[in-house]
Symmetry: C2
Subunit: 355 residues, 2 copies
Amino acid sequence: MENNVVFTNCVAEAIDRIAETIKPTKTFVVVDENTMSAALPVVSHDSATIKDAFVIMVKPGDENKNLESLSYIWQQLGDAGATRHSMLVNLGGGVVTDMGAFAAATFKRGIRFVNVPTTLLAAVDASVGGKTGINFNGLKNEIGAFKNADQVIVSSIFFNTLSATEMRSGYGEMLKHALIKGPDMLNDLMRQDVLEVGSERMLDLLKENVGVKQDIVFQDPTEKGLRKALNLGHTTGHAFESLALKRNSPIPHGYAVAYGLVVELILSVMQKGFPAETMRRIAGYIYENYRAFAITCNDYDELIGFMKHDKKNVDASEINFTLLHDVGVLALDSTASVKEIEAALDIYRDVMHLD
Amino acid sequence: MENNVVFTNCVAEAIDRIAETIKPTKTFVVVDENTMSAALPVVSHDSATIKDAFVIMVKPGDENKNLESLSYIWQQLGDAGATRHSMLVNLGGGVVTDMGAFAAATFKRGIRFVNVPTTLLAAVDASVGGKTGINFNGLKNEIGAFKNADQVIVSSIFFNTLSATEMRSGYGEMLKHALIKGPDMLNDLMRQDVLEVGSERMLDLLKENVGVKQDIVFQDPTEKGLRKALNLGHTTGHAFESLALKRNSPIPHGYAVAYGLVVELILSVMQKGFPAETMRRIAGYIYENYRAFAITCNDYDELIGFMKHDKKNVDASEINFTLLHDVGVLALDSTASVKEIEAALDIYRDVMHLD
């Protein structure tokens, strides 16, 4: 796999440069209603490629990452005369980059495409790994493909229009990468408030942080082994997301991951000798910045039910986790029993000041 | 690219063998209404894998190779509990194998799949090359992906239920491969009537014939150069197909290719020194077996218009063809002017006894 990610705040120049290499007969841009007004003008002001591009606008939000929107992108591409030598630029958060990338991967059996993530979460989480797709039949990312962008342009120039919640959500995934990488990166992140990081400093942080994911994906492009490291915090995080959705009050993905990290660090303490004090320090930082996802012991059965249905579980009788022996020291392919998970949730409620 | 095609009339055994390698948690089969009754019972009688499989039936015909049918396959897979460790077997003609393969390539970002072509055309044309997809927005194969099956099982056991027209259609593509390969293979094919070839002999012919395409695709998997050889007969063939469709009397793909071969051999005589006598001999064979696609000089403008819109033409001002210096000697990246094409169509009408 080539290293196709560039980190730069000169986004317009970067787009024009890749267009010079690809030499598309025509360029198309996918945006949503938000990036149409907040990001497109910024880029099109300085990029001749984007200025001349045909714009395809989809509705924002995960509920519109569906077959209808995908079909609309395909239709617009065809009607506006896209050929197999056209190029598609996806300018938006994860919904736009995932769905636009899948449209490009499948239009005329594949056209060239560039992803320009505009949210911190998409920059950290969706920029690397070649995962493209849509939700279908009530399931997230049920339909999709692995396909790398010709280029991913990671920048921090669009973040000034994001809410504090969106910034914190992205930072949740950054904390996960730091936990995988080691103490230096983790301490660096915990020393500051994501809302107070300047634009250039943020670009440096992103370069370092996304680098962790790049290294892992490079070594395991099709998710056979090492890539499971990236599931840290996610077995529990997905269960929290599902429960929140069922309660009709969804929580941002990065928040769910942050809460999930706390539970899985507790399991790491219980099983793998992860230092209890470090776990408490991290839980403290997460509580301070994210507060807690509220659960009682009456939620345990349901949470464990969600974990059992997670697609990573080949055999639903035991539950898979990625755990840590210490910050930066992975324990892949770990499992936990229902009793252990219940105990960990008890401790989670304690360290997160619930009840 | 691995060599993933097996030639065998022990289809049930071949399916069970690949299932033993893949070890799917569950197997699904896509059929259409025809192969549901004509092919599925034959295979399921001897294959434990197919006997236990969940069957997904789609409507037959190119007009049903669409987003609605694809969506139905995705839905059925999901509802019946397919996981990313499931396997899909596509049992049918080109519509079933192209669409089923695309469904497998995109369900949960890709599950394992096996293609079992049941028509001669699909065995020759759709079994190799990894082209998957559906028609969309009025265009053939507008949406799709390049993805190789884990295995393609080519056999001749299903051909006894095919019509003479279906057999001749497949043979049209076989003639094309023989023209690319050389005189021995071509003479071998022209010495016999496709309707009188026995089942074992047909399997041998297929092995040799599909081998031509395999060699080419192996050397050029993403259609950059040599693979254009496979377009022989197709620039004109597609134009004939489009005109027939417009006349509301569609012709089988392999027939269109056979007529297209005649026109493009004439162009080869005009431009590349292809022996005129060989061209006349082949045209005679095609007339004898396929009769002629009737055109007059009033159709020329429309035919040339269709050629100009062919997706292989980067610049619509000249028309690309794959031509031959002689049987087995390629002249890739040839072009012809409108005047030359008109002259070739005049000769086509003459050698095909039109007017």
